[in-house]
Symmetry: C2
Subunit: 428 residues, 2 copies
C-alpha cells in the first residue's frame, strides 16, 4: 500500500520540537535543561489540592457534580469566579458585559482554547499575524492546520505598531488581507522573550486591525494569550485588550490556571465575542463535551477559599528569586557579547548573541552545549516561516521555571563557559 490514508492535517503534523528537546533531556540524565517550560516542582500545591478535593468530595451529594458530566462551557461557579477576576484585574465596573461569565468557556489549559479559536476562524491557507518571536507550540498548531503565519517585530513593550501597519498594508496590496483572521499576542511576560505588551499598544493594534476590516471583508480579531499574566513579580499589571473601549467585540482572551496554580490540572479558559463564542462552544462539545469536572471544582474551591491567592503570592516570590539567580549567574558567567531584557514576570530569559553566532539546532553552539549536558531552546524555533525575512538564529530561550537554584547556577555557568569558548574561537 503506497498511499497512506492520513488527512492533510495528519500528514502535515510534524514531530514537535519540544518532544525532541524532552527526549534529549531524558536520554542524558546528567543533562541540565534550561529548555523545559515546566513550572516549579517544589511549589506544586500538593497539600492544598488534597485538602481541596477532600472539601469537594466531602458529602456524597455535593461531590457528585465533580464526577458527572457537566456543560461544555464548564462549571458555572468557576466561570463566574474567573470572569470576575478578569474584570477586577482590568478595573472594569460590574456592568461591563465584556467580562460576562456567559462569554466564557473553560478549556483543557489555554492551549485547547488556542486550538479551538484557530479551528473556528482559520481555513487552510488563511493567515494569522504573530509576534516575532512567538510561542512555538502555537506555531505547531498553525503548521499542522496549513495556516500561514506572518511575523510582527517585537520591542520591549510589545509589537512595533509601525511594523504591524506595514505588514497589513503589504497584505492589502497583495490581496492576501482577505485571508488574515487575527493577530496572536502572548501579551504578558511573553514566551519566549518575557516581553509584556503595553495597554497602549494593545489599543493601537486593535485600531489598526479595524482599519483593514473593510479590505479584508470580515472582522479581524486580536487573540490575547495571557497565560503568564499572573506570574508577575516586578512592576504593575497591564490591562487586557478587553478593556480597550469599543473594541471588546474583537478581542478573544485566553487565560489559564496551569501556570499560576498547577500545570497538570489542565484548567484554562477563554472569553470570546460572538460569533466566535458559539462556534467554539460547539467545537468544545465535539472535542470532549467539557473539561474534566474534578480539576475545575478543585480550582473553584481554591479561589473561593483564598488558597489560590496565597499560593500565587508564594509562587511570584519564588519565581522572582529564581529569575534573580539566573540573571546574576548570567552577569557573572556569560561573555559580554550576550544581551537580554530583564524579566518582570514569567518563566524565561531571552538571551541575544551577535548575529554571527548561530544558536540553532544544527549550530556548533547548540551541539557543543548538548555535549556539555546543557540544553536551551534555540531561538529559531520561535519564529514563524515568513517569506518577508530570514529566520533569526542567534537567540536562546532560557527557563528559570523548572530548575532548582543550584541547577540554574550550574546550568548558566556551563553554558557561559561554552559561549566564552565559542566567542574566543570565533575571534581567532
Amino acid at each position: 500500500m503506497k498511499h497512506v490514508a492520513l488527512s492533510r492535517l495528519g500528514r502535515r503534523s510534524e514531530p514537535p520540537a519540544i518532544s525532541w528537546l524532552m527526549e534529549v533531556a531524558l536520554s542524558r540524565p546528567q543533562m541540565i535543561s534550561l529548555a523545559a517550560g515546566f513550572t516549579d516542582n517544589e511549589t506544586l500545591p500538593v497539600t492544598d489540592a488534597r485538602e481541596l478535593v477532600d472539601e469537594v468530595l466531602k458529602s456524597r451529594k455535593n461531590g457528585r457534580p465533580s464526577l458527572q458530566y457537566g456543560m461544555p462551557a464548564g462549571d458555572p461557579r468557576l466561570r463566574t469566579l474567573t470572569a470576575r477576576d478578569c474584570r477586577l484585574k482590568d478595573g472594569a465596573p460590574a456592568e461591563n458585559k465584556a467580562y460576562s461569565a456567559d462569554r466564557m468557556i473553560i478549556t483543557n489549559g489555554s492551549q485547547q482554547m488556542l486550538y479551538m479559536v484557530t479551528e473556528a476562524l482559520c481555513d487552510e491557507g488563511d493567515i494569522v499575524l504573530v509576534e516575532d518571536p512567538t510561542y512555538f507550540v502555537y506555531l505547531s498548531i498553525l503548521q499542522s492546520r496549513g495556516v500561514r503565519g506572518r511575523g510582527v517585530r517585537l520591542a520591549e513593550d510589545g509589537i512595533e505598531l509601525e511594523h504591524l501597519a506595514a505588514v497589513l498594508e503589504r497584505l492589502k496590496k497583495s490581496g492576501e488581507i482577505r485571508r488574515v483572521k487575527f493577530l496572536y499576542l502572548v501579551s504578558y511576560y511573553q514566551n519566549p522573550t518575557s516581553v509584556t505588551t503595553s495597554f497602549a499598544k494593545k489599543a493601537g493594534a486593535l485600531k489598526l486591525l479595524k482599519q483593514y476590516e473593510r479590505a479584508a471583508g470580515h472582522p479581524i480579531y486580536l487573540l490575547e494569550d495571557a497565560a503568564y499574566r499572573e506570574l508577575r513579580f516586578r512592576g504593575a499589571d497591564e490591562k487586557s485588550a478587553l478593556a480597550v473601549k469599543g473594541h471588546a467585540n474583537r478581542v478573544i482572551y485566553a487565560g489559564t490556571y496551569s501556570k499560576p496554580f498547577a500545570t497538570g490540572l489542565r484548567v484554562g479558559f477563554g472569553i470570546l465575542p460572538e460569533p466566535v463564542y458559539t462556534a467554539a462552544i460547539r467545537i468544545k462539545g465535539n472535542h470532549d463535551f467539557g473539561t474534566s469536572n474534578l480539576p475545575q471544582q478543585l480550582v473553584a474551591h481554591a479561589i473561593g477559599s483564598g488558597r489560590y491567592e496565597r499560593h500565587l503570592t508564594e509562587l511570584q516570590r519564588r519565581y522572582a528569586h529564581k529569575a534573580r539567580v539566573m540573571e546574576a549567574a548570567m552577569k557573572r558567567y556569560f561573555p559580554a557579547e550576550a544581551g537580554w531584557w530583564v524579566p518582570r514576570g514569567g518563566l524565561y530569559i531571552w538571551a541575544r548573541l551577535p548575529k554571527t553566532m548561530r544558536s540553532g539546532m544544527k549550530s556548533k553552539l547548540f551541539q557543543t552545549a548538548i555535549g556539555r549536558d546543557i540544553l536551551y531552546v534555540p531561538g529559531e524555533l520561535c519564529y514563524v516561516d515568513d517569506p518577508a525575512r530570514r529566520k533569526p538564529d542567534h537567540e536562546m530561550r532560557l527557563s528559570f521555571g523548572g530548575g532548582t537554584e543550584a541547577n540554574i547556577q550550574a546550568g548558566i555557568e556551563r553554558l557561559g563557559s561554552v559561549l566564552r569558548k565559542m566567542f574566543k574561537a570565533a575571534k581567532r
Copy 2:
C-alpha cells in the same frame, strides 16, 4: 460587516441536538428525561474518589506528578494497566503487540479520541461508513468537519455484512471509494440501539474493507468505539476487533473510563496502529499537551487498588436492574405496535414504532410528549445524511442510565399513554 471571519468548520458547526434536548429538560423542571445519556448519579464513586485522591496526594513528592505536566500520550502506569486490561478481555497472550501500551493514548473521554482520529484521517469531502443508526454526537463531528457519512444497516448482532459489501461496491463504481477512510462501529451495547457486534462480524467487516483497499489506494480502517463495553449485564463479552488475526494494523480501538467509572473525570483512551498513532499523538500535543493528570492518577489508583472492579460490579448490577424496570414498564404501558430489542448492557432501549408513526423533533408525537413533560431522543437524530435512503423517523432512544427507578416507571407510563392516544387517533 457582512461577512463573518469564521472558517468553514466554524460556520458549519451546528447547535448540537443534545444541547437543545438538555435545554428543554432544564426549562421544564417537572420534565422526566429519558433522553440524557447521563450515568447513574447514585452510583458515582464519590467516596472512592476522595480516598483515591488522598492516596495519590498523600506524600508531597509522590503527589507532584499529578499536578505537573505529563506526556501527551498520558500517564505510563494508566496506559500499562489499560492495555493489559484490553488484552486480558480479548484473551490474548502477553506477547501480542496489538495491545502494547506504546500504541495507547489517554484522551479526554473517548470522545476526544474519536475527534482526533477523524482529524488525522479525514479531509473535507472524505467518507466515513457508519452504522444506521449510530452515535449522534459522532455525526456532529463528521458534519462540522465536512466529512460525509454513509449508513450500513444494522441487525441485532451488528452491521449487515451484505449491505456493507453493497455500499463498498457502490462507492467503488462511483469512484468515491478513494474518499473512504474508515468504518465506525459502536461495537458494544451500541448507542442508540444497544446492539453488540459479534466478533465474527468484526472479522467479516475487516476482510471486506481489505478487499477494497486496492481500489481506494490506501488502508481503510475500522474505528471500534467500545465506550459501553464494560456496562455488560447479560451474556458473555465479545472479543474486540484487535483480536482478529492479521488485521490489528487496521484497527483503531477507543475506550473510556467515563461510563464504567465516572463520566465527569473525562478519562478515555485509544489503541492505534501506525501511522495513525503518530499523527494522533502530535494532534494531542497541539490540542492540550495531554489529559489532566489528577484524574488519570485517580483512575490508575482505582484499578490498582481493586476499587474499580468492585465499583463496576455494582454498576452492572444496578443497570441490569434499571433495564429490567424500564422493560417491564414498557411491556405494561406501551401499545402493542411498539417493539424493541432487549438490552444486554449499556444505557438504552431503542423502541421501534410502525413506520407511519413519526417520532422526529417536529412530529406530533414528540411535541405531545414534551407537552406531557416527557422527553426522548428522536430516532432520526441518529441517522447520517445519506443520499441512498430516506432517514427513518419512527424510533426512539430511551435511556435508563440517569433516572431513578420511580422516574423510569413514571416516564414510561406517561410516554405509553401518549403513544396509545396517538395510535387510537391514527386508527380513527
